[in-house]
Amino acid sequence: MEKGIRLDKETFLSMTKLLKLDEEDSHLEELFTYVEKLFPNFKVAEGMDLKEIEPMLTLIFPKE
């Protein structure tokens, strides 16, 4: 897990505007808390050495 990576409130709020999410305060606060907690998980592959993975195969699941 990339523990150093964080989502700050300002970035979150600007993204919610772009995404046109419900701007009602209590819902946004709950969503921020949830996303802030998960955000390092989203970046889990950052820092992994993925050179040996052929990019074209990324979205093709093996059938062997």
Partner: protein, 472 residues
């Protein structure tokens, strides 16, 4: 024989009686409908019941069998389908009132296969909304309840499939599994649940959650039943782009083989995760039992195991949000608030995050595949706890407080990410009477080996014979 007893037989047992014409599918279906009526108020396993259709289908089955047209071991056997498998002419809610009036005009491949095999559809089963959650809680259709303790979760997302099968309301059910949704409720309700290899069973006509990790599979009371269902439904399906054109074995054949000499790997990483001490003890005993049955046990290390769970959940969240994005624009206020939160969180995953997670997934697949050069199977826990109370956001796992979602999915997600086949079988009961699951996994398309080990374990123990403390 009391007709009530028909509900407690496995598909294997029922089919032997039906084939010999000692009992009729009409009697079997009638007994199940009576039981459903009695238990539904407490368990809430079904969203749609089909008593007239089931009775009519049972009459047809009876006539076919009497006239010598026996279709096979599922002929006349009552089944429930998770309410996300399309059945022509029957409502398909996917666990949301938004789709209360959606009636598909075609059959999912699995519904069709089961009908061709002669199984009788009793109804469509309750689920976590859009299959997006592992607890089996649903504000639209009501929470599913665990037959072993009605205050506890049935697990999810295939919670109705688990509670109905464990409480003998249907002989078996079909579920789906994106992060553990067959294996988690099966483990928490004391059932056998198989997530086959990605590509083994068709997903045509099935509501999508995360297309690259969604699997369909059987939930049964015995390993033999799992094999019987696999024989009926496994097939290449050109209508499903993920379907693999692989040879299909007779899944019941491997059950007769013993497990002497099989190499069972136990990743040490499983026990670096938080786990309840009672669950851990039962799982170690189950592994020892495989050893006593002739397998050799090897402690191994599974590279990327710890990272695999975050990779899997990132892929799942991005795909689920992409799939449901239109729905969210039009119906966000009507969604289960917890499901809505998860769907909205998916918007914060960038395209780069998703693609990097998929690349990391490929690496995890290779590292998992390499393990099978040294072992034939992997064994460990299915869920680190027994069923928790309904409504809990966090749970104690040993001494660690975890969110209920990461806790329930910690041992199941890795097999959704690599797509390898994995089964859960009951391996014990906690002091307060709740089932514990034991997970066995194999290499891709080797469900036969997984079933063989699970069957050997099941036959050497008596856990699968215990019944929930609900009225007979």
């Amino acid at each position: 024989m009391d007709s009530k007893d028909f509900c407690y037989f496995s598909a294997g047992e029922l089919s032997r009686l039906i084939r010999k014409r000692e009992i009729s599918p009409v009697e079997v279906v009638k007994a199940h409908l009576v039981r459903v009526e009695a238990l539904e108020p407490a368990l809430n396993s079904f969203i749609t019941l089909l008593p007239e259709q089931a009775t009519q289908e049972a009459r047809v089955a009876e006539h076919e069998i009497q006239s010598g047209q026996y279709r096979g071991p599922l002929h006349g056997i009552p089944v429930g389908l998770k309410d996300l498998f399309y059945v022509k002419g029957v409502p398909n809610t996917s666990g949301s009132k938004i789709f209360d009036h959606f009636i598909p005009d075609y059959d999912s491949t699995l519904a069709l296969k089961l009908r061709e095999a002669g199984a009788i559809l009793l109804g469509k089963l309750n689920l976590h909304q859009f299959a997006y959650g592992p607890t089996g809680e649903n504000p639209d259709y009501g929470n599913m309840h665990n037959p072993w303790n009605l205050e506890r979760i049935a697990g999810g997302s295939s919670g109705g499939s688990a509670s109905a099968t464990a409480s003998d309301q249907c002989t078996f059910a079909m579920g789906t599994d994106t992060g553990g949704s067959i294996r988690i409720p099966s483990a928490l309700c004391g059932l056998v649940g198989l997530k086959p290899t990605y590509g083994r069973l068709s997903r045509y006509g099935m509501t999508v959650l995360s297309w690259s990790q969604d699997h369909a599979g059987p939930m049964t009371r015995t390993v033999e039943d799992c094999a019987l269902v696999m024989n009926a439904v496994a097939a290449y399906d050109p209508r499903d782009p993920s379907s693999a054109n692989k040879s299909i074995p007779d899944f019941t054949q491997s059950l007769a083989e013993n497990i002497k000499g099989l190499r069972v790997g136990v990743p040490r990483e499983f026990f670096e995760d938080p786990i309840d001490s009672e669950v851990e003890s039962y799982v170690h005993s189950a592994i020892e039992r495989l050893g006593k049955l002739g397998a050799t046990i090897h402690e191994i290390s599974w590279p990327m195991y710890h990272e695999s769970k975050a990779i899997s959940s990132t892929v799942q969240m991005a795909e689920a949000t992409a799939y449901h994005s239109q729905l969210m624009k039009q119906h966000s206020a009507e969604l289960d608030p917890k499901v809505r939160l998860r769907l909205e969180a998916g918007f914060f995953i960038s395209a780069v995050d998703y693609l990097q997670a998929q690349r990391a997934r490929r690496l995890f697949y290779q590292k998992s595949y390499d393990l099978f050069k040294k072992v034939d199977l992997l064994a460990g826990p299915t869920v680190p706890i027994t069923a928790c109370n309904i409504g809990m956001g966090e749970v104690h796992v040993g001494n660690t407080l975890l969110g209920v979602i990461p806790a329930l999915t910690q041992y199941t997600r890795p097999y959704n990410l690599n797509g390898f086949p994995a089964i859960t079988v009951p391996c014990g009961f906690s002091k307060n009477g709740l089932p514990v699951g034991f997970q066995v996994a194999g290499k891709p398309f080797d469900e036969a080996m997984v079933l063989r080990a699970a069957f050997a374990y099941e036959q050497a123990t008596e856990w699968h014979q215990r019944r929930p403390p609900i009225p007979k």
